[in-house]
Symmetry: none
Subunit: 199 residues, 4 copies
């Protein structure tokens, strides 16, 4: 801070620094009390930032919470590479999601935000645009390769397949309370393979 010329502190720098402070504080609070424990006032106090600074960047606490976990969420879900094995690729598609949702932070954030995502027009739109659509695109490639290999029916519906892959995962997370254990991804994958097998 005093370091005269060490940190040139452009406006963008200041912006970035307070943004980082906010997101870190948000993650810390989320880890402690989940979405219900998250308040803008709390984030402001913890990050040493003014409430207005937070409101300048995010509309409400839901957007903030999503932003706080966005990187981890997005970066953990990469497109499966072509490994010549449809089952392996489907597994590579769904396994990371299960793993991420097993983490306390991410699971509690998703649990807490689901109602908002399901209700808020803007938030749901953003969620689909930025999260679901890219995932569908990833899955479409896997399925196309599976069809070409003769593993999957040519008319396999990508959306439906996606719903079968992730539906059970979210259902466990949100409703049934069944564990997101290591057997889940393979079992889901196998069921999908059978459901959409060629012939």
């Amino acid at each position: 801070m005093p370091a005269s010329d060490s940190l040139p502190t452009t406006r963008a720098d200041r912006r970035a620094r307070s943004e980082q402070a906010i997101l870190e504080a948000t993650r810390a609070i989320l880890a402690e009390g989940g979405v219900p424990g998250l308040t803008i006032e709390g984030v402001a106090a913890r990050s040493g930032v003014a409430k207005t600074t937070i409101y300048r960047r995010w509309r409400d606490k839901d957007e903030l919470a999503l932003a706080a976990v966005w990187n981890d969420l997005a970066s953990g879900l990469q497109a499966p590479r072509d490994v010549g094995d449809t089952r392996a690729e489907l597994l590579a598609f769904i396994e990371p999601l299960v793993t991420i949702l097993r983490s306390t932070l991410m699971s509690s954030v998703i649990r807490g935000l689901t109602s908002e995502i399901a209700q808020d027009r803007d938030l749901s739109h953003a969620y689909r645009e930025q999260f679901i659509e890219p995932r569908l695109a990833q899955l479409a490639l896997v399925i196309r390769r599976g069809v070409e290999r003769g593993d999957l029916r040519p008319d396999t519906n990508v959306r439906l397949a996606h719903e079968f892959l992730v539906g059970p995962v979210f259902y466990r997370l949100l409703f049934s309370g069944q564990p997101l254990d290591e057997g889940l991804a393979p079992r889901v994958t196998d069921a999908v393979l059978r459901a959409f097998a060629a012939q």
Copy 2:
């Protein structure tokens, strides 16, 4: 002496009458503004009942909202009868759920309560106990008959099958925004039949 059909006003009567007034007001408010628009104060004002009377019966607005739709939810989901046709019975299991969730009231309530169900220990416990477990029991009968008929694999896992049936439905409701159209139930049913087909 019971004055035939006047108003005998026993304690239970008063209790029941204000309970009805509360639940009706709750449904009306839910229909208008969904769970976010539901406030205890609003219900009290609309039902002509004191706030305390509401708090005497339900811990918070989530329990109240669930109670308000409970009857419709539970009564709409009956065990499929044995009709000698596994596909028809699976359809009879999942179709009513899709239909119910298509209604504005029920879908907005479920959307709004999901986060609470997923986060609140008591509420999630109650939800599983009173809602999921009975449904699993219903499905178990259908699957047993399917196995006996040679339609389903003997080792068909009821929980997994249930997750495959309802997971896509809730995923549409909460995240993808895809419509709960008439084709959904049959498509889900067929996929499950293939995924767990005998042989």
Copy 3:
């Protein structure tokens, strides 16, 4: 008649017994939390009596509190006997009041009731009628004897003298927080004697 040898329980008995239970509970609660801690609901719970039974006898918690300490208050303040010494008789008039108000129970009750006595028409009327007037009558006798003995001026105003005797005591109790110590009564007495001395 049927009650064989147990308790004949006439209606008056029941009435008296619950009244005693109420007053005892009231005193206990007053001793613990003073007038602010006194609630009708608390008294009902503690005495095992229904709220309605309390309301049948006393209009509100102020009347109840006053009733609960009434006996002690009234019985402690007897008319000074003629002992041939005006100073001794004035002392015998004011000393017991100071002593009573030194007790934790009585002082906290008076502190807590003062505003009600000062504001409520009925309560203030009852207080004057049942408490102040008898005391004035007691003091009038003392003063008349003092005048006859030549100790006090013949035109000594009883009300004014009374105000001088008790005013400082209540002022300490309510406002100044000065102790109601043993020197207070004599000092007040002497001042009054001088203020109204003959000649």
Copy 4:
């Protein structure tokens, strides 16, 4: 920083403006219904201020009520000037108190607050510190001059004299209901003069 003298709506300004609105509303409500009629919610509604803003400044309605009349109370009770006449100065000490307490507003406020002042540690402390002690200091000067003039005994106890002057006034206000008429101050003054006369 100096802000000259225009209308720059500084933070202090906003603070002062809402404070004035609150105190005015408080006085109006007190005038109408006394302390029992005073509610924070009522003050908020009448002053157009949020409840929280009131709670930010005063702990409860008693502090608020006291604050609302504080100026009138304090400004009305000035130290008697040296006029070379002890009786006149004692009268100048006690007369304004009687006059103030004759006003409907002030008398009803004091009646309503007395129990709180007598019971609440903080409030009673504040009352003594800010109100009684300054008055004792005023009276001490009067008495010192009276002693120097040979009107009062050299060992005249200021606290006791104060209690004799104000005790009767408050006793009338709170308990006896006797009027605070114009004769009261002179009679109290004369009695005190006799009680503490030199020789």
